[in-house]
Amino acid sequence: MSVDKTTVAKIARLARLNVPEDRLEPVANELNGILDWIAELNEVPTDNVEPLASVTGHALPMRDDVVTDGDCVDRVLANAPEGASGFFVVPKVVE
């Protein structure tokens, strides 16, 4: 499983990272170096092993259905690069 320029372009697009054309090749090489090293894991037999996502061992705590938050437009928008009349503003989205 080797990463090529096209794959780098594809994942860069998925990650919304602008990777310039002349960087695609070097990035592909770097990623391949890491992925080759990671491939060491294939030595480990894991056929009957359950994946482990969280180590805490307890179940998800649940909260009561009470409104305790919100109503803080000023705090929500305080750091916005662009806002107007209580909205966040972004370049126009065309569907």
Partner: protein
């Protein structure tokens, strides 16, 4: 002034209670120390006005006899913790100009116990790195120097925290540890650093790197200070679903309890090619000290140890690629204007994230993408279970484990290594504890041939921080580590 800076937190608390010093005095000394050692670049933001106001409040509390655990203790905060009204950047350009309107649970706990905030500490960008060289503010510098007097890295990602505590420009500091980011810099800087059990300290309000691995913890100069700070930081937090409900033990009491009767495991897999021979010698020395103090040392095996790093370098980037998706130029931080929304996203993120962060986002995106999930991410989760099971098994027979903290001492800033994998190897001894959620602690245990500090790591069962403090207390006593870095405040420059 230098004698004020030499007080441990426990000693300072006693002096504050006895009114022999004031919080304002102590804080002023640390503000001056931080300014004096500014060339170490371990602070990215000093907040002296903030600090003096907090110190004045602490003095009032002390006068009224209402002192908290850390009343009047000046400390630094890794720039990953959100602090109300004080810029928080995760040392990334993408959070440029971000001022949180909220306080992280951990720092809120510290302020509630009377601690004083000196400022925000340097770290690797989004905590991704092991040398504090990926920071948008430039590298933090280790106050220790070898004979050649070249700048050394403090380790990372919490490099600024370790550097400041070692340089006496903070009496203590917060850090976070995702793959060793507290323990490795603590070892490099000759200070005490604890990564608590996953869930012990709330993650709420801390900029996330890899959520299933991230854990906040204390940096201090002594083991007792460390226990004191942990008591203040730790809490169950209903705002963090992964927060532990298990009560913290009396860790202060554990520090002096000794190790008599404890069974301590020495994992045979914790060696690697190219390891500093001084590290091996110190590890042996540490075992002898513990044996002399009445512990039984046994060799144990953690067979999946060598797979921990590759496992980590799948899971951490995968989670990070998703955690960092929120930095999109819409609601806070940097925005680079470009034609369409997607172009704005791509331009903003390319300009805002540094090289290492981008590399990890790409790796993480790749291992989760269609067709590769099973081969990488799912595989890593399975190996993660095997790594955890290794620990579960040995902890049925031993109370704690003793290992080296790092394969080597601190290295030179700017050391050019083309292969990113070589940099990853710094974390080889620390990463397994993150994958398994265990508490781990780095204790300064001696100097190498170049006069640089080395640390030993103690690992324990989940929620059993007390055993770590028992072992660390004995190591601290036995080491009698009195060496100090050359570039410390109040010391020789």
């Amino acid at each position: 002034m230098s004698d004020l800076l030499d007080l441990s937190a426990v000693e300072a608390r006693a002096a504050l209670d006895a009114k022999s010093i004031s919080a304002t005095e102590l804080t002023s000394a640390y503000i001056k120390a931080a300014e004096e050692t500014a060339s170490l670049n371990n602070y990215v933001l000093l907040t002296p006005d903030h600090a003096l106001a907090m110190a004045a409040r602490a003095d009032e509390k002390l006068a009224k006899g209402e002192a908290g655990l850390l009343e009047g203790i000046p400390l630094g905060v890794k720039d990953l913790f959100c602090t109300t009204g004080v810029a928080t950047t995760a040392c990334s350009r993408i959070l440029q100009g971000f001022t949180p309107p909220y306080e992280s649970t951990v720092t809120a706990n510290l302020w509630a116990e009377g601690a004083v905030m000196l400022g925000k500490l340097n770290c690797d960008e989004f905590a991704m790195g092991s040398a504090n060289e990926t920071s948008a503010f430039g590298p933090a510098i280790n106050p220790w120097q070898s004979a050649e007097k070249i700048d050394l890295v403090p380790g990372g990602s919490s490099g600024g925290s370790a550097s400041a505590v070692a340089a006496r420009s903070a009496l203590m500091a917060t850090g976070t540890d995702t793959g060793g980011s507290i323990r490795q810099p603590a070892a490099f800087c000759g200070v005490v650093g604890l990564k608590p059990t996953y869930g012990r300290c709330s993650r709420w309000g801390i900029v996330a790197f890899a959520s299933s691995l991230d854990q906040a913890g204390p940096f201090t100069r002594t083991v007792a200070d460390n226990a004191l700070m942990l008591q203040a930081m730790a809490s169950h937090d209903a705002k963090d679903s992964t927060s532990s409900v298990v009560q913290l033990q009396d860790v202060m009491a554990a520090v002096g309890q000794g190790v008599s009767g404890m069974k301590i495991g020495v994992p045979r897999e914790y060696v690697m090619d190219g390891m500093d021979p001084d590290v091996m010698a110190l590890w042996q020395q540490g075992q002898d000290w513990l044996r002399q103090a009445g512990a039984e040392l046994v060799e144990v095996s953690l067979p999946h140890t060598k797979y921990a790093l590759p496992t980590y370098y799948i899971i951490a980037p995968a989670e990070a690629s998703s955690n960092l998706a929120r930095y999109d130029g819409v609601r806070y931080g940097l925005r680079v204007e470009a034609g369409s929304l997607d172009q704005m996203y791509e331009a903003t993120r390319a300009a805002g994230f540094g090289e290492e962060v981008q590399r990890r986002i790409l790796i993480g995106t790749y291992v989760l993408s269609a067709g590769y999930y099973d081969a990488y991410y799912l595989k890593a989760q399975k190996v993660r279970r095997l790594i955890k099971q290794d620990f579960d098994t040995v902890f049925t027979t031993v109370d704690a484990l003793l290992t080296p903290a790092t394969p080597s001492a601190a290295f030179a800033v700017g050391r050019k290594i083309d292969d990113p994998v070589v940099n990853f190897l710094n974390d080889v001894f620390t990463v397994p504890a993150n994958l398994a959620g265990l508490p781990g602690m780095s204790v300064p245990a001696g100097l190498n041939a170049d006069g640089l500090p080395l640390g030993l790591q103690v690992l324990g069962k989940p929620y059993d921080e007390a055993s770590l403090y028992r072992v660390a207390g004995v190591l601290e006593q036995a080491t009698a580590f009195t060496a100090t870095p050359t570039r410390r405040a109040g010391g020789a420059k």
